[in-house]
Symmetry: D2
Subunit: 341 residues, 4 copies
């Protein structure tokens, strides 16, 4: 059993707080911190039996009884708090992305490596039952040598335009999960990226300098080709599918829905829409990722998602961004060079 | 290659005529006969290249070049024309049922047996790709020892009330196909029947002395239990499903539809309704049953559906009818005794 | 927030203990009791932060701070502890069945009615997402007037023969859930029952005087016909399906599986088996049923499953048992008369 | 009713011959021609009641009673015979591709336009029930404004290496159908193509200068992005799926299989593989395309697939080929310029 602290109790911080309380056996939340801590936040913390609620996260870093922190603060603080936390000797779970700046991620990565501490990035989908089932089949050799990997990832609705402006762009904000999934399922690195981006959902997104629809093709080191299609809005809900095709067959997943009920009537044979969005679809995955992080600490094993797993998708995302801008394929090597890595 | 004659060119006679022309390699239709033959019928026959169109079916029976006849006339003539045709040395394909009167069926059966001619009854579903796939799996031992057989059979709309009145009742008209399917899939005989009948579709059907909804449970000689559910009207179309459950697993079929297209939108995830009715769903099965009949003649092998297969479902249907009337299980032995068999 | 006590901490008692801790907001387990309480039981209780673990359940009944008890003890004690608990002023959640003796159930029912306390029976499937989706569709009028209700319920493996001997027979032990589901989905009462029972799984079950396979047909007060098929063993796992067919369409559910992964290879297109058994399939339903019970107490509303809902399925089960014994349909009225109700 | 002649009675010529005989109402095959005509070919023609079988196709062109020809000869003869046939006043159905040389296709196109005759190219998939269902939904506005189009097209086995060498490459041989489908479903033109090609099936294909696996991304004039994934070998059979995603929803199709039978056992829940290959999957589409061609002649309406529909996919294929060679996106305008169009 370890004590953990949560830094940032916005939406995702609370998701983790609640799932730790319910589902994570070997962790107890000793403290939370949020610069905007108010009565509602205090009440929420108390309802989970959390002893301490601070405005200053440094109090958590100073607490010797806390061995791990969850960084759920705003993205622009992820890398600096990560650095501080590691220096304070804490194991760190950090929400994605570590940073939009590759150099800062690299610094975190270097510090983590020297520290011997655990560092996990919040790529929750790796812990989803469906994606895990594909991964297991691939690892068990059921599809043979990989040839084509396909991921569909569409949101039920576009984020507010104010969010879009600070999101780092669709590739670093939304597709980053899919880039991680390509690496996870393939167990290989992306070498080159070609992306087509378009604005088909909301012209305001285009005015904000972003795109809302994308198809990204990737050449992988293992010889397979991966393709992701994204859209910020699918009227039927959160569409999260994947397929790995190889020499011995294909393994694919569809969407979870709230029930399997199927209505047959004059209009056809109708099943339920996919679960609405990530909080519905991945609720158990959020619990499982923290449980896995805690077990890695308790048993001193590697985390399923490490600091390098936080770096690579950002490189791929930057390559995709550049590919759209230049309308040509872009290698990861080029992006690394751009970044001075 | 053999010459065949079709007796009765109403709806089902024409279905056979057209499918023989298109799909049955070793048969040529030399003549058709229908007491109500008119210009339309003559034109139809000519369009298929059929040489002769008679009003009197006896002309077909007298034609030495015709080795097989299809009896597609009204039900009340099936057994007598069967008898005549066999005596004239013709192989016979007879639409179901052979007769509503068990004794008359038995007479046909006896005459057939002595004749050495082929006799096939029109249980077309045995030749449907889906039902055949179940049968194949069962025969291949894939489900092990049979335990439960389930058949769902619902029509898209009730027949006209005038038809209901002369249909012989739901069990001899509609369920008779399902009784045949129970025997076919199980390769066993029904020993006892319990049926619940109700009028839930149209009160007029009740007034006509029939029911429109039924659940029939059967004890089989092989130890399995079979259950059929029927309804004269399902708003979503022709519902034709089956399942055989056994010690090694279960094999089941769903409904064919016009396409596999699935629309995902705000209302859900919607596939097409089942194909509308038997002419759509079983078109290829009609061709296959005649092809199989012709091959049995050409190769002198047993027909897939023989005269006894025409008798047994009628016995089961009469047992179901009596079960509803008496509200108790009824054995086939009792029905045979009733019929003096 | 209310305090609850759990009487009996065998398998199902622990399921409830754990799900209350994780998922039930307004309840705290103050005490557990079990006549066979040992170190393991004490340790389990401590791990959930439960203060008191007794051998004598009367200590729970005497505790004024406890307003509700969960009766998870052996079936033969359900009715007597129910009576005591109600007399002690406790709201009661009682595992099914209340008793095998209809008169004792009736006594509990009468005492509950006078008490004004909440009484809920453990028909957990009513709280399953899939069954609830059917119920919601039926209640919303989506299938129109009910005509046929079908339930398939097959276990992945037969219980130990020693359990079979004291189970009260398949109808009171296993089918009882399905009888409840017929009543729940139809919102109607069963009037007459015809059951076919057979021994197709294990001859030892037959020697123990029970059956392991059954098909049960029921006439309902609302004019619909219901049919249940049961088997104690399906090699592919826990098969829990249902369908309600009516004048406007049909609503049906299939089986939950651990993931939606589908493997396409030389052997076909293969999805996962259904979840193994009730603990997997209904884990969230167990949490939801207690949450619903607690909310009924807190808000003083009716429980979703009341004492009469505990009585009716036992009557139906006894009718099914008698139907197999007598090989004839049996009315619920006859069973009531038999029982002196 | 029109008379047709078939030029070339190899595999596809015979497919058309048989399906015309069975399914095409308004056409009669008056003659076939094949330079390699042998006894087997003559026998085949006779079995379908075809009067004339020539070695020289010019005899068909000279026959005044023949108003349409099907060009099913080797690809290198398609454009020249097309030219001759049009000049002879015949309506032409030509198997794909018209030519690998864009200029020759353009010549055919120009001649067709002046002639006023019907010209149809053999893009049979447009006539498949599943693809047609998508098209119908798109045209009916069910998915709103198109955003992403996805096509999966994988063969069950690679062609012989000798065939690969003369095939024109995967894009002109295999993907050409998918390029046509993108145009058909989108009702829009492709403007730019980026393709990733790899050799993952058979190194011999690579040695022959071709690829066997590809992912092709296309920017369409209507603002949508299309992506095709191809592989020459899928062990589970012919994989032919498509999806059109738009502002109002998504419409998708899966694979037809020989039956809908699903086996549930200890290994999972297994359905059948997709139908083996194009002859199985598209048999009815071959009939429907000729029927449609004949109806266009009889009713003097436009063919569903015209000469320009034969040209455009070749341009797209050449763009894809160049994209792989140059590893950059290639516009159709560039290809036209390359070809001097």
């Amino acid at each position: 059993m370890i004590n953990v602290g949560i830094i940032g109790i916005g939406r995702i911080g609370r998701v983790h707080g609640e799932s730790i309380t319910k589902f994570v056996k070997n962790a107890k939340i000793k403290a939370v911190a949020d610069p905007y801590l108010n009565d509602d936040g205090k009440k929420w913390a108390a309802s989970l039996g959390i002893e301490n609620a601070y405005t200053d996260y440094k109090k958590i870093l100073e607490d010797k009884d806390i061995s791990a922190v969850l960084i759920c603060s705003s993205t622009d603080t992820h890398s600096s708090i990560s650095m501080e936390a590691i220096k304070a000797g804490k194991n760190v779970f950090c929400e994605k992305p570590i940073d939009h700046d590759v150099k800062k991620i690299k610094e975190v990565l270097d510090v983590v490596e020297k520290s011997g501490l655990k560092y996990q990035v919040g790529f929750n989908r790796r812990f989803d039952h469906n994606f895990k089932a594909i991964k297991d089949a691939v690892q068990a050799g059921k599809i043979g040598k990989q040839q084509i990997i396909k991921i569909t990832s569409r949101d039920p609705e576009a984020p507010p335009i104010e969010y879009v402006k600070v999101s780092g762009g669709i590739f670093l904000d939304m597709t980053i999960h899919d880039f991680d999934m390509v690496r996870y399922l393939s167990d290989s690195e992306v070498e080159e990226v070609y992306a087509v981006g378009s604005v088909t959902v909301d012209p305001e997104i285009g005015k904000a300098g972003d795109i809302d629809t994308a198809v990204i093709t990737m050449k992988l080191a293992n010889g397979a080709t991966a393709v992701i299609d994204n859209c910020r809005k699918a009227v039927y809900g959160y569409d999260q599918r994947a397929e790995v095709f190889g020499s011995k067959g294909s393994i694919a997943i569809g969407n979870d829905s709230d029930s399997l009920a199927v209505l047959s009537n004059e209009n056809g044979v109708t099943g339920e829409k996919p679960m609405y969005f990530f909080l519905q679809r991945y609720m158990m995955a959020y619990a499982a990722e923290i449980d896995s992080f805690v077990e890695a600490i308790v048993n001193d094993t590697a985390t399923i998602v490490n600091a390098n797993d936080g770096l690579q998708p950002v490189l791929i995302g930057l390559a995709a961004k550049k590919s759209v801008a230049k309308n040509r394929p872009v290698t990861i090597a080029e992006i690394k060079k751009d970044a001075g890595l």
